[in-house]
């Protein structure tokens, strides 16, 4: 009679619970991650020891790139359209629904308001190549108008300024000067993090 050889049995652990937990956590992280909309202008922010994390919600942001061009972003989608409408009213522009939905997808407003309508109708590929910036000089303070209307819509907004490492100081100074002129005195400078030396 053949003997039944005891089959070698490996140590078996029930992985079900572990995998359940892993996938649960994974679901959580996927749902909480907010994917960044692609940046229109590449900006390298300087690093600082500041420890406050940026609050995405009630935020508007002015970006200055290394060529000293200004861009404006409204971070919260719910604020975008009312501000666009106010801006359109001032400059005598109306936007179609298609243009509005295209506007919602923009992470940054990269063109003067008069060419915004045209810009919103461009295809995604063309959008990358046309980024003239928003004018901000003594004759045309559109950038400040954007800020003004955003605060008019929601006074609790915070104003962040994101500058490039190579932005020249006068560009920054002019911006601050114009903002202070309209009584915006509190800014948040966006920086990347760096550990605090002891």
């Amino acid at each position: 009679m053949a003997r039944v050889k005891p089959k070698r049995q490996g140590i078996h652990m029930d992985m079900t619970a572990m995998s359940d937990m892993a996938w649960l956590l994974l679901t959580f992280f996927i749902l909480t991650t907010q994917f960044k909309k692609p940046d229109i202008v590449p900006v390298t922010t300087p690093s600082s020891v500041a420890e406050t994390k940026i609050q995405d919600g009630d935020l508007i942001r002015i970006t200055i790139n290394n060529e000293g061009k200004y861009y404006f972003s409204i971070i919260d989608d719910k604020n975008k359209l009312p501000v666009l409408e106010k801006m359109g009213k001032k400059y005598g522009l109306t936007f179609t629904d298609a243009e509005k939905s295209s506007f919602l997808k923009l992470s940054e407003i990269p063109v003067p308001v008069r060419s915004l309508k045209q810009y919103l109708n461009l295809s995604d590929g063309q959008k990358q190549s046309t980024i003239p910036g928003i004018p901000m000089d003594s004759t045309d303070l559109q950038l400040i108008d954007w800020v003004d209307f955003s605060f008019e819509h929601d006074p609790n907004l915070k104003l962040a300024i994101k500058g490039d490492v190579n932005t020249q100081y006068p560009e920054f100074r002019d911006l601050i000067k114009q903002l202070v002129e309209r009584d915006f005195n509190r800014f948040q400078l966006v920086t990347s993090s760096e550990s605090k030396p002891k």
Binding site: M1, A2, V4, K5, K7, H12, D14, M15, T16, M18, S19, M21, A22, W23, L25, L26, F29, I30, T32, T33, K36, T45, P46, S48, V49, A50, E51, T52, K53, I54, I64, A160, G163, D164, V165, N166, T167, Q168, Y169, P170, E171, F172, R173, I176, L179, V180, E181, D183, N185, R186, F187, Q188, L189, V190, T191, S192, S193, E194, K196, P197
Partner: protein, 184 residues
């Protein structure tokens, strides 16, 4: 990948009892994959959020012209930092009209540079509680330079500081100084 445990091994001879087939699937690869993805998402979420540095500017002053020529501040209680071009940094503790190139000291952004100068100046101050840092960026400086100096304010815990436009007399001294220092 998942393997079903093979439990009906020895069926040569003897009574073959219909063994109940176990349906246990090996969950190890599933758990592996789950944790791998978790790690990925954790890293991408935590590091993508930039920091912010608060900056408050003084509100515009309607009486600015009147207040301009009243420097009641004791010179030892303040230090002026002039941010030059080419990542150069200077400081002085003089009145801006009486500044000469000898009294404008060059320093650097390094740990031993401006940080020590600020701390030393604070030690020398008559009333350290009122010690004020005046930041004067020149037109050649970059935004990064400014942020670095603001960062030093945070590190040296200087709570009183201000960003001020550089005076023409200081620009002249700065140009003289930076001109001479580049010749050396």
């Amino acid at each position: 990948m998942a393997q079903i445990l093979d439990n009906n091994g020895g069926n040569k001879g003897g009574k073959v009892r219909a063994k109940k087939q176990s349906t246990a699937v090996d969950m190890t690869p599933l758990a592996d994959l789950g944790f791998l993805l978790i790690t990925f998402f954790m890293f991408t979420t935590t590091f993508s959020k930039p920091n912010v540095m608060g900056l408050n500017m003084p509100p515009k002053d309607p009486n600015k012209e009147l207040n301009q020529d009243t420097p009641e501040i004791d010179l030892s209680n303040s230090i002026s930092i002039i941010i030059g071009g080419d990542n150069k940094l200077y400081w002085h503790q003089q009145d801006k009209t009486k500044l000469t190139a000898d009294q404008l000291y060059e320093t650097s952004y390094s740990k031993e540079g401006i940080r020590n100068d600020i701390l030393a100046a604070r030690q020398r101050a008559k009333t350290p509680d009122n010690f004020t840092v005046i930041i004067k960026p020149t037109d050649e400086s970059t935004y990064e330079n400014l942020v670095n100096v603001l960062d030093e304010m945070e590190i040296t815990e200087s709570s009183r500081y201000g960003i001020v436009d550089i005076a023409p007399s200081e620009v002249a001294v700065y140009e003289e100084k930076s001109g001479t220092s580049s010749n050396n």
